[in-house]
């Protein structure tokens, strides 16, 4: 009964005129950034954070969430039509999607990507609805030791799932924790690593850091070489997949949905890995794996469903534990905190309008996205023709404004430029930034829970190993680290 009451509240919130408008703005901007390579959802959400301060917290989170899941829809369009992924999560869609387009089946590829995304997004939201609240009830019982171990596990998973070197990913996570310690120590009031600069007393702000690492460094990297875009010419026909397309794709969509959902919950798992894993699974279960890469519809349906499902389940750790699973969730956490809302186990009790309103708005957003991505596909194709040389000055300029307007501080522009330069150099060394951002967000919570636990036990670390949840998290973290070392050794021994 309580559940139905919550659903009804969620519908009331999501269907209010203002929230419908913000949901539409969010998914529209999301599709736009998904279509346009060079600016991702993290950069866009950072940019729009100041706008969200002026509206209600529920409207803000509805809009920002819309940008996130909307970008997953838009990302497939460029992959299929231009062979350039609009988003990292759509990289694998290029493999078969672009081949389908070249065979005159762009409509079917775009159609199945949109329908698959819709089905996966909707199923993902249903799972989210049923799982987030029970998980919150469990999380209420968490104390500092459980939170400490959970965060250690989260960071370990992020580094374990790193696409390149694990040691480099761990270094990035440690660097993130180190950066989070700059500023006043909230326990003792000491200034730490501020070098006498008043601007650093409150610590480094998340938005300039994210904009620098993800926005500025990406623009600089893109500017190194002129990207040759060959957009598919001619009218796109047949956006509704035929019966055979559906028969071929439905299994891939459902498998992608389940895979994406579970990988999306994991810190760092998210949309990118889920799409790659889904492609690998589809190839493995296929009767004709050799045809993958030549324009097979399952190669589009599976990954596109997986990344949308993952974008829904990524809200579970944020809403139930208060722990963001990726950089975008970290920004949403920041947005809510600015409004005085603390995401975590008590969110559904203290702010049911935000909890249920956001979930319900995601249903509506998915419908809006289906309309935006199918009948309006021509609009996005036109946008793809805007050259990058026109786009990049806007991206740089809006990044400056986004960083400045958070706190009306020129120093934040400096921070953005510093991290942009650092990010550009680190990209050359093949470092990834997701572990850094996640650790930067979790850093203060990690430190507080460690210090509180040690204060309680009088300096004994045994509390982390004697409490079941904490011990389980640490054991899993150690197993992950050991398995990674074992896998690397085996890879070295196996002749290529």
């Amino acid at each position: 009964m309580e559940f139905l009451g919550n659903l009804s509240l969620g519908y009331q919130v999501a269907f209010s005129a203002a929230n419908l408008l913000y949901c539409f703005i969010g998914v529209f901007i999301g599709t736009l950034v998904g279509v346009l390579p060079g600016i991702g959802p993290a950069g866009t959400i950072s940019l729009l954070l100041p706008v969200s301060y002026g509206i209600s917290p529920v409207a803000a989170i509805i809009m920002l969430a819309g940008i996130y899941y909307g970008s997953q829809y838009g990302g497939s369009t460029t992959s299929i039509l231009v062979n350039i992924p609009g988003e990292a999560a759509s990289v694998v869609t290029c493999l078969d999607g672009y081949k389908m387009a070249r065979q005159g089946r762009a409509g079917a590829a775009l159609g199945i990507a949109a329908f698959g995304s819709f089905i996966a997004g909707t199923i993902g939201i249903i799972f989210l609805m049923f799982l987030a609240q029970p998980l919150s009830e469990i999380a209420v019982r968490f104390g500092p030791p459980e939170y400490f171990s959970l965060m250690i596990l989260a960071m370990t998973i992020v580094t374990f799932l790193a696409q390149r070197s694990m040691i480099q990913a761990i270094i990035m996570a440690v660097l993130g924790v180190a950066l989070s310690q700059i500023g006043i120590d909230i326990v003792t009031g000491h200034s730490r690593f501020t070098f006498g600069l008043q601007n650093l007393e409150d610590g480094i702000k998340l938005v300039p850091l994210v904009m620098g690492l993800f926005g500025i460094s990406e623009v600089l990297t893109n500017l190194e070489e002129s990207v040759d875009r060959t957009i598919l010419q001619g009218k796109i026909k047949g956006l509704l997949p035929n019966l055979k397309d559906w028969m071929d794709s439905i299994g891939a969509i459902l498998r992608g949905t389940l895979l994406g959902f579970f990988l999306g919950i994991l810190p760092g798992g998210g949309v990118i890995i889920s799409s790659f894993v889904s492609y690998a699974v589809e190839k493995r279960v296929s009767k004709y794996p050799e045809k993958f890469g030549t324009g097979v519809i399952e190669g589009v349906a599976g990954p596109e469903s997986a990344n949308n499902s993952a974008s829904s389940s990524a809200f579970i750790p944020l809403f139930s534990l208060g722990i963001p699973s990726n950089a975008v969730m970290a920004l949403l956490l920041g947005a809510l905190m600015v409004h005085g809302v603390i995401p975590g186990p008590l969110l559904h009790r203290q702010h049911p309008d935000i909890f249920w309103g956001t979930i319900m708005s995601m249903y509506i957003g998915n419908f809006m996205l289906l309309i935006l991505n199918l009948p309006l596909i021509g609009l996005w194709v036109k946008l793809l023709k805007v050259p990058y040389r026109i786009l990049f000055p806007f991206i740089l300029f809006f990044s400056i404004i986004g960083s400045y307007s958070i706190d009306n501080s020129v120093f934040d522009i400096f921070v953005m430029l510093l991290f942009g330069t650092m990010g550009y150099v680190l990209r050359k060394f093949r470092y990834e930034f997701s572990p850094l951002v996640l650790a930067f967000i979790l850093g203060p919570m990690l430190e507080n829970s460690l210090r509180q636990s040690l204060l309680v036990t009088g300096g004994s670390f045994s509390i982390f190993f004697t409490r079941p949840i904490s011990a389980s998290c640490l054991v899993i973290a150690v197993l992950l680290l050991l398995s990674s070392i074992f896998l690397r050794k085996r890879k070295k021994l196996t002749p290529s």
Binding site: V174, A178, E224, F392, V410, I413, L446, F461
Partner: protein, 157 residues
């Protein structure tokens, strides 16, 4: 061991060591009552260890890059395309307070648009002017974000 790993490993090692030194100055406290330097010291020590491992690790797990240094950084790349926008950002940072938001933003955008379309004057002028005016109205007038007025401060007195 790649040269790339050696260099980056050494940088992390050095950074970790500096973090440890800074933490000791902050007061480490003890396990029973951790001080403000406790966690930074722990972080610094882990960074030293990881930097050391990276320096002496066989490969970074990714494809080993041949060559290193400035050449590898900008090999076959159009580095002027990177340097000029970077310098423009730096210039924006320096000029924002003395010149003010409107002139600095206009100059910044005009320069970048002009670079990408050197043959035209009108198009960069219109693009930059329209963007700056529109942004000013959205952020300054509507959202009340107080941008630096700089040399145009007399207009609002």
């Amino acid at each position: 061991m790649t040269k790339q790993n050696q260099v980056s490993g050494f940088i992390w090692l050095l950074l970790g060591a500096l973090l440890c030194i800074g933490s000791i100055q902050l007061n480490l406290g003890g396990f029973h009552k951790p001080g403000p330097g406790f966690m930074p010291f722990l972080t610094g020590a882990i960074l030293v260890l990881l930097g050391f491992i990276l320096m002496f690790s066989g490969s970074n797990g990714s494809k080993v890059e041949e060559g290193f240094g400035v050449k590898r950084f900008w090999r076959e790349k159009n580095w002027k395309n990177v340097l000029i926008p970077w310098l423009s950002l730096f210039g924006y940072l320096l000029l924002l307070q003395p010149l003010g938001f409107l002139p600095t933003s206009f100059l910044f955008l005009f320069l970048l648009f002009k670079l990408t379309k050197p043959e035209s004057w009108l198009e960069p002028f219109l693009f930059s002017g329209a963007t700056v005016v529109l942004t000013y109205f959205i952020f300054s007038v509507w959202l009340r974000c107080p941008f630096p007025k700089g040399m145009l401060a007399f207009l609002t007195r």
